[in-house]
């Protein structure tokens, strides 16, 4: 895996995004220029929020970058690792109306090799929780976006594979009804991959079976050209950002069942703490502390 080359064949990222993080209390004009250039080139646009600190209080920015780099570790830093693990932040940015953020996430994904079809699958995952409000942001963000045909394919962690069949529970979607036998098939699917059945599954099977089946009809047809692991990893990230323990548990268990490594899962969780706040890790401990303890 090469982590050094950017989409245009040049070095993608400068050391520490142009900042000398060994000296957090000072900054040079050269560091400021390099940091701005990094974001302009990597995101395709300046980042006014981070640039704010370049001018006003660089120390705050440097301590943030130190924190962010260590949060990600080897699990997804743009600077050291070009492998894609999911569409982290996409739903969060869509729901908070952050058009520039959605646009630069797509741009980064494409510069890392994602095709338009792969990105559209990622946006489909975001639509699960983003709904019409989130899609409004996405549509506006990409209204005049020029899709790239990547020269090199995207890289994913070892062992990740395209496997749309993995999502198939055996439900017959030619009928909207969910019979008892199909409810059993669905519970068996969760047991096979996650080892437990989320509480909403039997609840909806009992009270709103057609709704559950319609949800599965969306869910089981989201991923066809992306590795299957991308789906639970993306939903894991979103549920960390909103502090939703049931969603964290379901998707961490599924990611584990799909063969995601503990290091990659922790990298994705940690990265999302940039949005969730560090105390969000308390929710993680409550939701999946037992899973993490027994996972080597």
């Amino acid at each position: 895996v090469s982590n050094d080359d950017g989409p245009d064949g040049e070095t993608l990222l400068h050391a520490d995004r142009g900042l000398d993080l060994t000296d957090v209390e000072h900054i040079s004009a050269g560091e400021q220029d390099a940091f701005r250039e990094f974001y302009r080139r990597t995101l395709g646009t300046p980042h006014p929020g981070l640039n704010f600190w370049l001018e006003e209080r660089p120390e705050t920015l440097k301590r943030y970058r130190l924190f962010a780099e260590l949060l990600v570790g080897s699990g997804g830093s743009l600077q050291h690792d070009r492998r894609i693990r999911g569409f982290a932040f996409m739903t969060f940015y869509a729901l908070t109306g952050y058009e520039e953020g959605v646009r630069y996430l797509v741009h980064i994904g494409q510069t890392l090799g994602l095709t338009k079809d792969q990105v559209l699958e990622g946006l489909g995952i975001a639509f699960l929780h983003g709904g019409p409000r989130g899609m409004e942001t996405i549509a506006l963000a990409l209204a005049d976006y020029e899709w790239i045909e990547p020269e090199r394919p995207a890289m994913f962690p070892d062992g990740w594979e395209v496997d749309p069949g993995a999502f198939s529970s055996g439900l017959d979607f030619s009928s909207p009804e969910l019979g008892e036998e199909e409810a059993g098939l669905l519970e068996a699917w969760y047991m096979r991959w996650s080892g437990e059945v989320p509480a909403y599954v039997p609840f909806l099977a009992k009270n709103r079976p057609m709704l559950l089946k319609a949800h599965r009809n969306r869910y089981e047809n989201l991923i066809r050209v992306l590795p299957k692991q991308v789906l639970p990893m993306t939903l894991l990230s979103f549920n960390v950002s909103r502090g939703f323990p049931e969603g964290i548990r379901e998707n961490l268990l599924l990611a584990k069942g799909f063969g995601v490594s503990k290091e990659d899962a922790l990298g994705e969780i940690n990265r999302t703490l940039i949005n969730a706040g560090v105390e969000g890790a308390s929710v993680i401990d409550r939701a999946v502390g037992d899973v993490l303890e027994g996972w080597e």
Partner: protein
């Protein structure tokens, strides 16, 4: 709407919310009241707030009942003053940042800079950044792009018992290296135990799974507040976590607030303002995760 830097002659409105409306009579509003509200709004915010202005025309009764409610959130004590500092600006700035409300941030900067220096306001923004991340800072960066900083004419007065105390945040960890030694982690966890009487689960989890991340977070945490009162830290932590429904953050904010000397009336005001965007029902979570802390608070 463009923002002006009109001097604010009505400091009496800094911490009251009637702004010329007769809140004792919600069902009847005169044109004179409406004109006065708009005049005060322009002086306080530099703009007409679009949402509030809407109700002036559509149904002033809704605005009056809202302002009656909001005016009760503040707990007024013997140290009441037009330029008394309120740390609630942290949580409100967080909401505005995360929801892309640039206009709100612009008038928030104007209001804060009325009593706080540029460096003090920047500390507040740095604290918000710890929660809001790049998404929130993107809004802030745009909102502040053309802001003209001023010297406050009436510097803030800290609430009774409050004051800057940067040393209170020091755990003793050695931040000259990125790697977290077992000694660094022990000192960080000891800091929580010393001030809170318990170790938050996020700290113990990160100590186990990502000690370097925990240490780098503490490097931010311990260097955020130097000029603003140390009580700003738990106040913001508490209110932001009330808004987003994170029980662990609520408990940590309550415990640290009590340890940092926030008084019972003051913490009640913090809880009240937490409902400003969290809704009254958010207090059920406060009671669940920190009711014992509030019940044992020194009177």
């Amino acid at each position: 709407m463009s923002q002006t830097h009109t001097p604010n002659p009505d400091s009496k409105y800094n911490r009251t919310l009637g702004w010329g409306l007769n809140l004792d009579n919600p069902e009847v509003t005169t044109q004179e009241e409406i004109d006065e509200f708009r005049r005060v709004s322009a002086a306080q915010l530099g703009v007409q707030q679009d949402g509030l202005d809407y109700w002036l025309d559509a149904n002033p009764e809704v605005l009056k009942r809202y302002r009656l409610w909001a005016d009760t959130l503040r707990v007024r004590e013997a140290d009441e003053s037009p330029n008394k500092y309120s740390a609630t600006g942290v949580a409100i700035m967080y909401v505005y940042s995360m929801t892309g409300f640039e206009q709100g941030l612009k008038y928030g900067l104007l209001g804060a800079n009325r009593t706080l220096t540029r460096e003090q306001v920047l500390e507040q923004v740095a604290l918000v950044f710890r929660y809001a991340g790049p998404r929130g800072m993107a809004t802030m960066g745009k909102a502040a792009a053309e802001y003209e900083w001023r010297e406050p004419t009436h510097p803030a007065i800290w609430p009774t018992g409050w004051g800057p105390d940067p040393d209170a945040f020091k755990s003793g960890a050695d931040f000259s290296s990125r790697e977290a030694s077992s000694d660094d982690i022990r000192k960080i966890l000891d800091w929580y135990d010393r001030w809170l009487g318990e170790i938050p689960r996020h700290a113990s989890l990160l100590a186990r799974t990502s000690p370097d991340s925990l240490k780098s977070y503490r490097a931010r945490y311990e260097n955020t507040l130097r000029l603003l009162p140390k009580q700003t830290e738990p106040w913001g932590l508490l209110q932001i976590n009330i808004q987003r429904g994170f029980g662990a953050g609520i408990r940590e904010g309550m415990l640290l607030g009590r340890a940092f000397g926030i008084s019972k009336p003051q913490i009640v005001e913090a809880l009240n303002w937490g409902t400003f965007y969290g809704g009254n029902e958010s207090l059920a979570l406060v009671d669940e995760v920190a009711g014992d802390v509030l019940d044992s608070w020194p009177e």
